[in-house]
Amino acid sequence: MQGEKTIPRKKYALIFIVVGALLAILGVAFNFILDATKTFDMPWFILGIGAIALIYGVVQITRGERLHPEVSFSAKTAKSFLTNNAIMLALLVLVVVICFIEPRFMQIRVLLDILTQSSTRMIIALGICFTLLIAGTDLSAGRMVGLAAVISTSMLQTATYANRFYPDLPELWVGIPIVAAIIACMLFGTLNGFLVAKYDMHPFIATLAVQVMIYGACSLYFDMPPNNSQPIGGVRPDFAAIGQTKIGGQFSILIPIAIVFTIAIWFVLNKTVFGKNVYAIGGNREAAVVSGVNVFKTIMGIFILASFLYGVGGVLEAARTAGATNNYGNGYELDAIAACVVGGVSLNGGIGTVGGIISGVLIFTVIQYGLQFIGISPMWQQVIKGVIIAIAVAIDMSKYRRK
């Protein structure tokens, strides 16, 4: 091809290592040179970017034997790089623009806030991504979050609180209500899976039905006397601590929790037979059947695992906000689906990575947080959010459209 240039992968990796190291050094140097009242924590961010480039370079070398020994650059590879990473680039541009308008954005504190706000969303998006990967969807996610929140908080109120859900309940070990809440979600997840796997129902309609059931069941529970549909409050501090603890005053405990789940799901998707089967069913269901993949078991597994994650998300939300109502989690599934899709998960199934979902979730939080930061009205935020979803999916589709 015209204008194509190839360099050995070793050299390519080396460039990243050198640039990464330089940036890291630059970051450290800036830390001493620059005026912290004007550039805030910028040096640290430069250091971080340098570290990422360095790690990327090292990975390229260690995995070199599996990859093509040469890296080629041409108009075609540039174009495919742009379409494949359009969202990350958009995120980058957005951050840079916000930083120029409001340099205070360049603070570690801001980054931590964004990560904290992304944590429970991330866990829910990880659950929903499985259902999207088999070209399905899960509309019951939000209601499961609400169910888990209500069940867990209802059993975890302080003994002295006036409006107790169970007035005579002794103080339980904090794990029991949490497990109960997650199991309740998993029962409904099993129902989702069963409807889809056994009756071949489209996940859209199966989970819609289950969503309605969950909301009804949750509202019935919430309405039991003596609570009678009052918001649940007076949550025990040991439970609230799960969502509110800040390590060193700034670093929310939700961040490491979300990271642990993210790594676990990455492992499931990439390193287990189950994960490979999920991609296979999403990629070509017929071929998966012919290859002897147990489609029934895999689909059941998908919906049960997803509901487990929603349960976890619900418990964390309840702990973070120290309360719950039956309307908790309403609409979360749409945010999660949007984040996944923006992160490159294909609604046609079979395509999607954990890395993509991370960027999808982050971009939504960054938009929300960043636009708020520079004082853009929430109404405009909604418009911008919608535009981003539409553009992201349009780019995504052009990637797979074949002539």
Binding site: H68, K271, K276, Y279, G283, N284, V289, S291, G350
Partner: protein, 499 residues
């Protein structure tokens, strides 16, 4: 108008790697029935698609109604006066019959569809072709043969000068076929010409005026139907030399029976019934027949993808019950499906994932993948198949058809099968890659495996199979030894029930 209503001269059509049509000529006289014959893959449908604007020919000229034409879309063809009844019908099942007929040219009143006029038009049309169907009934509720007749009525409604009929009688009973012939004669008397594609010899000899025969994308000749007999047609359809298209045989097939299929039946009456055969160790058993002979359905049932209601299957002398693909796999069966794209490859996954998918559990401990083992197995299996790929991480969709097929064979070898069922193993693969697949098949036989090969290509069947089983309309019509098998015999058995 000249002597011919349609002249297609020297038509050439090239698909990537395949010359589908090579200088084909077809001349149709007005008001005549012109039969177009040839084996599966001879290029009949491709030629008709060029005429109907679905494909565009790469060379040659189409003269229709005295003028040279380029036909770019089906709409242009219809406007010119060429209509076509397709081999496979795709009705809009949940809409009334009449909407299916007038789609794209509904009678209108202002901006609204004139339903009354549509009913009236449909009734008139049905009367003309002597068909008793309510215009408002949903298309999906009609039987296959009624749908076929509606489709014929639709073609008539265009008042075309030429109607192409691609296997119009494949789902018709004898009476309905008679009915169709009556319609055809009516059309003829109005000066409409028919291009008639069929495998049914007697039908052709009965209805047609002239017969054009094609073979391997080439024009064989045109003869008046009166001068032809069934044997003459078959000879002209299949006559060709077969040198050097297949690797020489360097093994002797065994006699030990590895798979004994005894009288298996499908629950569907129109599918395979009472199929019995033995597969010997170290042989290639070819299964021949025309499209629709239910060969694919039969082997899919053996592989657990379809139901078997009666009959027995024995593997190595032990009966076994196949309920699912996993059962079949556990018993050492492997299947390469006919539709590679639809039910074989995972286009968006890597070669490695594609290769190990059927044997995942062998490369995992407690559900966790053992990456090194997995990668090594995929790489070695593909190397033994000589798959051409830049890396194991390349996406499957970037490979050529031949290489995809090799990956699929590599996939099934990882399950250590004794019996490989290959359904049209070289469909859509270029000539060079075909030879490689044949060599691989011989290698597998030498390793002690046995192969069942379905093939619709006569030379492949005769060149590769040690024995040839022929099916027609779901039944086995004969099993021929290598010595007995020749194209005339196979063709005769493949059309045994066709009148």
């Amino acid at each position: 108008m000249g002597e011919y209503v349609l002249e297609m001269n020297n038509i050439t059509k090239v698909f990537p790697g395949v010359k589908a049509l090579d200088g084909v000529t077809l001349k149709v006289r007005p008001g005549s029935v012109h039969a177009l014959m040839g084996e599966n893959g001879a290029g009949k449908s491709t030629l008709m698609k060029c005429l109907f604007g679905i494909y565009h020919e790469d060379g040659g000229e189409i003269i229709f109604d005295g003028k040279k034409r380029t036909i770019n879309t089906s709409k242009e063809a219809l406007d010119l006066g060429i209509s076509m009844i397709h081999q496979e019908l795709h009705p809009i099942r949940f809409r009334p019959v009449m909407e299916n007929i007038w789609l794209g040219r509904f009678p209108m009143r202002g901006i609204a569809v004139n339903k009354k006029a549509m009913i009236k038009q449909t009734k008139e049309l049905f009367k003309e072709v002597d068909l008793d169907i309510d215009p408002e009934v949903l298309a999906g509720t009609l039987s296959a043969s009624n749908l076929q007749l509606v489709e014929i009525a639709k073609a008539v409604s265009y008042n075309s000068k030429i109607i192409i009929m691609d296997e119009p009688t494949s789902s018709l009973t004898d009476n309905e076929t008679e009915h169709l012939f009556k319609i055809i004669r009516q059309l003829q008397s109005k000066g409409c010409a028919i291009i008639y594609i069929s495998h049914k010899m007697e039908e052709i000899l009965k209805i047609s005026d002239e017969v054009t025969i094609m073979r391997d994308g080439q024009y064989v000749g045109t003869w008046p139907a009166k001068e032809l007999t069934t044997d003459l047609i078959i000879n002209r359809m299949v006559g060709r030399d077969m040198t050097n298209r297949f690797p020489p045989k360097t093994y002797t097939p065994g006699t030990e029976v590895v798979l004994k299929v005894d009288d298996i039946c499908s629950p569907l009456p129109k599918s395979f019934q009472h199929v019995s055969f033995d597969l010997h160790k170290g042989e290639i058993l070819g299964i021949g027949g025309l499209v629709g002979a239910q060969r694919t359905e039969m082997v899919e049932a053996l592989f657990g993808l379809r139901e078997i209601v009666s009959g027995k299957v024995e593997k190595d002398g032990k009966p076994f019950l196949i309920k699912s693909v996993r059962d079949a796999k556990a018993h050492g069966l492997a299947l390469l499906t006919e539709e590679r794209r639809a039910s074989g490859v995972f286009g968006i996954l890597s070669i490695e994932d594609n290769t190990v998918i059927a044997a995942q559990k062998d490369f995992a401990r407690n559900g966790v993948l053992q990456e090194g083992k997995r990668y090594k197995a995929a790489k070695e299996s593909n190397e033994s198949m000589r798959t051409k790929t830049p890396s194991m991480e390349e996406l499957m969709q970037n490979l050529s058809g031949g290489n995809q097929q090799k990956v699929l064979i590599a996939r099934w070898l990882l399950t250590h099968p004794d019996i490989l069922i290959l359904d049209e193993p070289t469909r859509g693969i270029d000539v060079g890659a075909k030879y490689e697949i044949y060599t691989i098949m011989h290698d597998l036989i030498k390793e002690g495996k046995s192969i069942i090969m379905i093939s619709s290509e006569m030379p492949e069947l005769l060149g590769m199979a040690d024995r040839v089983m022929v099916m027609c309309e779901g039944r086995v019509t004969g099993i021929l030894s290598r010595e007995e098998a020749d194209s005339v015999q196979v063709m005769r058995l493949a059309t045994a029930f066709m009148k």
